[in-house]
């Protein structure tokens, strides 16, 4: 789409706002609708838009597939790791109360961390699946 000037310029302006909006959805999830799942999808959508407008080749240079795959695994590890940490601190698995000096702050930290894990996994998986579909060629083509 090298000749689509308006599309390229619009995408160039939109992508940063899409990524920022994803982070807003992530960190505003405690107060309004939103959270890791939605934020991860929106964050991945920014990169999908980049690849639709600038070509998959350029997007793969910005964010290679192995990063997406690693993100997919990393988020799960972060989520499960929070549980391991709470156990090491003497509470039940995923009981965030012990993460800080009082239970309510601990809950805040815990929710922040596991939601971050969800964001990272959903982002990596959505982008990894998109790469898998878009990177494949037609069998008869």
């Amino acid at each position: 789409m090298d000749d689509q000037v308006i599309l390229r310029m619009a995408a160039k302006w939109l992508i940063p706002f899409i990524l920022i909006f994803a982070l807003y959805v992530q960190f505003h999830g405690d107060y309004g609708p939103g959270g890791g799942f939605q934020a991860g999808v929106i964050f991945a959508a920014g990169f999908v838009l980049h690849s639709l407008v600038f070509g998959l080749k350029d997007t793969l240079r910005v964010l290679p597939p192995w990063v997406a795959y690693a993100c997919g695994a990393l988020g799960v590890v972060l989520y499960a790791g929070v549980g391991v940490v709470t156990m090491a601190l003497g509470a039940e698995y995923l009981n965030y109360n012990v993460l800080s000096y009082d239970p309510e702050h601990g809950q805040h930290y815990g929710i922040l961390l596991v939601e971050l894990g969800v964001l990272i996994t959903v982002f990596g998986v959505m982008l990894g699946v998109y790469y898998a579909f878009a990177g494949r060629r037609r069998l008869d083509g």
Binding site: M1, V25, G29, D30, Y31, G32, P33, G34, G35, F37, Q38, V41, I42, A45, V48, S51, L52, F54, G55, L56, K57, D58, T59, L60, P64, P65, W66, Y69, G72, A73, G75, V76, Y79, A80, L94, Y96, E104, Q107, H108, G110, I111, V114, E115, V118, T121, V122, V125, M126, G128, V129, Y130, Y131, A132, F133, A134, G135, R136, R137, R138, G141
Partner: protein, 211 residues
């Protein structure tokens, strides 16, 4: 007013569903499915389920549509004529639909004050205790990330498993390749670009949509 909005949205859902059934052009079917998801998201919003509506709009109308289009770029844009007669599927669908409609007769009326959900101990505990037990204003987040933390961890793992499944089934694209570099006398890991057929720089810059 709310009734008018509900009826309009449900009518749009029905129209989109029927249009998906009728069309043989898969591109319009995918676009209509996106519209269906968006209307469903609006419907969830009128039911005050904003978190669900958000997910439906982002996943159903957004990413799913892109993935469907990516698939269509691989398999073609026209649906083949079915080889069988539609009579048996029609009967099955009608019976299932009738059973579901019959099932709704047992549901309590929407939004009524004496519905079982308002009476359950679990819901009352969340509403009364979560503001000072968790301290997060959005109760959906409290339940999702803390009270039901195990469930959400399972969901995250399922999503990761989906990636593993997709990669095992269809990823023939970028894959690491061990290449022997005679100059540096060591093995290198190379991520090959799926769009270039081994040659470099000759490929187009367009993404998955070109067949």
């Amino acid at each position: 007013m709310e009734t008018v909005v509900d009826i309009t949205l449900l009518a749009l859902l029905a129209v989109a569903g029927l249009a998906i059934l009728r069309t043989r052009n898969l591109f319009s079917a995918v676009m209509l499915a996106g519209i269906y998801s968006l209307v469903a998201a609006a419907l969830f919003t009128t039911l005050d389920a904003v978190d669900v509506a958000f997910t439906e709009a982002a996943v159903g109308a957004g990413i799913s549509t892109v993935l469907f289009l990516g698939t269509l770029a691989l398999v073609g844009w026209e649906e083949k004529k079915p080889a069988h007669r539609p009579l048996l599927p029609l009967v099955v669908v009608l019976i299932t639909g009738a059973a579901l409609v019959y099932g709704t007769a047992d549901l309590p009326p929407f939004g009524a004050a004496d519905n079982p959900v308002h009476d359950s101990d679990v819901a009352r505990r969340y509403i009364e205790e979560s503001p000072h037990e968790i301290g997060v204003p959005n109760m959906v987040t409290s339940v999702l990330a803390s009270y039901r933390g195990y469930d959400t961890m399972g969901e995250t793992t399922v999503i990761f498993a989906a990636l593993v499944g997709v990669l095992l089934l269809i990823a023939r694209g970028p894959r690491p390749r061990r290449v022997w570099d005679p100059d540096r006398k060591e093995w290198l890991t190379r991520w090959d670009d799926p769009q270039s057929d081994g040659g470099d720089g000759a490929g187009t810059s367009q993404g998955g949509a070109h067949g």
